[in-house]
Symmetry: C2
Subunit: 441 residues, 2 copies
């Protein structure tokens, strides 16, 4: 028991912000919290690497609040600006994020280039291109996706099939449907190396499907059965680059590459996996449009994924597809010869923003020995030429000191976070995997 | 066996067009068909009550083709205009529909009133209104939905919760999730009176859920177990007004009211059921936007439906919600004092269009004794004051003559339709229910 206590103390972890999958907690469990959060007339959400917002002075207010609340454990370097009088009553919710952090970039863009005008008679049909495997995929979005991946060099699209989804969550479920045999002897095992994105278990099991079931940490999977391994790279929640880990020959891989963009990680090679998932929410910050896309090698898999989306939602909003196409084209334009004015590119802007935030949180955390953050070895980005370590959209904070339960500790100071157990980390600890776990973290 | 043959001959039925649920058949099974269908450079789809399209001369071409193909069984009153030279190679696909029939109305509308302009920085967030049970529902859409139902008088919204979905298909699945106990002794039975919308069985069972299972024709359900009964009114495919039919006390009802609008049926009373589903696809013809809404009495059910959509797609496209809000407001405007120019209202336009099509198809069918169509008793619409019988968006055609298999018969003439078996009608026949079935049809 003493040993277990030691492990718990050392590897309990907290993911700060940008955890999108447990959003329902907010509206259902946390209404009281929201009430107090909303009293400022604006949402005090932290995003990016757990601090900032649309308004810079609010960022600083939040940083001050974190500092005060944790009795200078998490001190920041910023000064408060127009601090509200009743700090003590404010709850800071870092349990989820909202990628509005790029809003200022988009505000600076010329309207002509990125504004979408839609008349009431346009895009009425269910169909976009019935010759395409994905018949509800707008041709303009196909071009925009292929061009942007080519410009950035982060994924191969030539000769691949693209399937559009209502966000990448729907595409994850579509991939499970496509990869699970309809008449298998039992549900297909679905695994991912811990710590894994906290929504994957729920998305896999919420309908108690007979096609697939969540089978936990990929490091611990050793059944001689077919399985699907989900590889999230860079990983949510810890930010590290990932490869598949199961040593089996019956596996099929899904690569969730939502964060494989040059503001979050050095781009090394164009990814070229069987099924790759991307989303506008993370690449350009347009979460409200609910547009994701899968790049799929096998035509039959792409067809089955399309079938899932047909049954699930009979296609994907055309209004959002057309808007996303325009946004992605604008990002490509800003990176190429079309950018004749030499304006700041989207990826320059977003990289600098992420780098600045990580600098701040590292400075704050370094002032105490109670917490630590992952360190990422620098590599050179083939897109930007910059050499840097990962800049994840969330911070995977580890308690190093006397605090046994970091989530509860911060909650007492009215800072809401999501503890490691939601990401499969607790299980590892119970299994005495903490050394391996720490190495991975 | 002789009796069974007699039944089959008499009650095999075909639904023409507007069958949205089996769209995947087109892209997957029917690619060869599509190739030939698309050779005219435009899709030859029939919609509304199985004839017409955006271009009037194409409507007439299609009508001629039906006539020629079925050897004047289905004769039309129209003359061909600019008939293509190789009629014989064209496949007419009536197996599905696409509600572009209102496109001309929307083209006539002033741009200012209904055009949506979206800048790249708008609607970026996941959130719309975190104080609402459905936190991703745009407040503008709530107002537009409530106002339109008030104007038309087809549903009560006061004191109800509205949940937005990516089309009403997603809301159907959300309702099943919300109504099925997570820890029940077995999957919840889901039934609907035959003939039922052909996609319901698939939407219920495609993930082999342990929460719910399709249990077939509601008329035949007699288990002493909990069940969900789906009441579609007016019904897809036959167009009739419906009530629940199971005589049990363990049932929960979902009302699919997609067609309860005054262009399809006389509005009699504001519907006031526990869970009511509507969709923009059928009400205004904006299928490409994928916007549906549920009106829900019970707050806990609305919360669980919201949870389903959170897990499934983390909300619903804001771009489409905002567009749908503008469209619905424009429809309300056209019906009220805002319509100062006395322009034709949306419901006048769409009613006249449907009435004209039904007049044509009835004239064609009346020229032969091989087929019959349902007849609908006239009633007075509380919205328009008109007295009329149902004008469904599809035709439920019955073979009365020597043709044993109407679907195969028409397919030999290169007219693709969907036979009664897809709607649960075949099962009734095998069970010797044909008299009851005919009465219902």
């Amino acid at each position: 028991m003493a040993d277990l206590g030691f492990f718990l103390k050392n590897v309990l972890v907290v993911s700060l912000a940008m955890n999108l999958g447990l959003i329902w907690k907010i509206s259902h469990d946390g209404e009281k919290t929201l009430t107090s959060k909303w009293k400022w007339g604006d949402m005090l959400h932290f995003h990016g690497c757990c601090f900032n917002d649309q308004k810079n002075n609010r960022v600083e207010e939040e940083e001050l609040l974190v500092s005060k609340r944790t009795e200078e454990i998490l001190e920041t370097t910023s000064s408060p600006a127009a601090a509200p009088e009743d700090w003590e009553s404010v709850v800071i919710n870092l349990d989820h994020g909202d990628p509005t952090m790029y809003e200022n970039f988009w505000k600076q863009k010329g309207d002509q280039e990125t504004t979408v005008v839609t008349s009431s008679w346009q895009h009425i049909s269910y169909f976009s291109d019935v010759k395409n495997v994905c018949w509800f995929l707008e041709p303009g979005l196909v071009s925009a996706i292929a061009r942007l991946h080519k410009v950035v060099g982060n994924a191969v699209t030539e000769g691949r099939h693209i399937v559009v989804g209502t966000g990448s969550s729907q595409l994850y479920q579509a991939a499970l449907y496509a990869l699970s045999p309809p008449n298998g002897s039992g549900p297909m095992n679905v695994v991912s190396a811990a710590p894994f994105y906290s929504s994957y278990p729920l998305m896999t099991d919420y309908l108690k499907s007979g096609l697939h079931k969540w089978a936990g940490d990929a490091y611990e999977f050793n059944k001689q059965e077919p399985y699907i391994e989900l590889v999230t790279s860079p990983n949510n929640p810890d930010g590290f680059t990932r490869q598949d880990v199961v040593k089996g020959d019956k596996g099929i891989l899904i690569h969730d590459l939502a964060y494989y963009w040059p503001q979050y990680t050095p781009i090394l090679v164009p990814a070229d996996y069987d099924i790759m998932l991307f989303t506008a929410s993370k690449s350009t910050g347009h979460a409200g449009s609910r547009i994701g896309w899968a790049i799929v090698k096998d035509r039959e898999i792409a067809k089955k994924m399309t079938t899932f989306i047909e049954i699930n939602t009979i296609g994907v909003s055309k209004d959002s597809q057309i808007r996303a196409a325009k946004i992605l084209q604008a990002v490509s334009d800003s990176c190429g010869q079309e950018n004749q004015k030499g304006a700041e590119t989207f990826f320059d802007y977003s990289y600098k923003l992420m780098a600045e935030r990580w600098k701040k949180i590292r400075e704050a955390v370094n002032k105490t020995e109670l917490f630590s953050l992952p360190s990422f070895p620098p590599e050179t980005c083939s897109f930007s030429g910059r050499t840097f370590g990962q800049l994840p959209a969330f911070a995977w904070l580890k308690c190093e000191g006397e605090v046994d339960d970091c989530e509860s500790f911060l909650r007492r100071h009215k800072i809401l976070t999501r503890g490691g157990k939601h990401f499969g980390a607790e299980h590892e600890i119970c299994e005495d995997q903490h050394v391996e776990s720490r190495e991975r973290v």
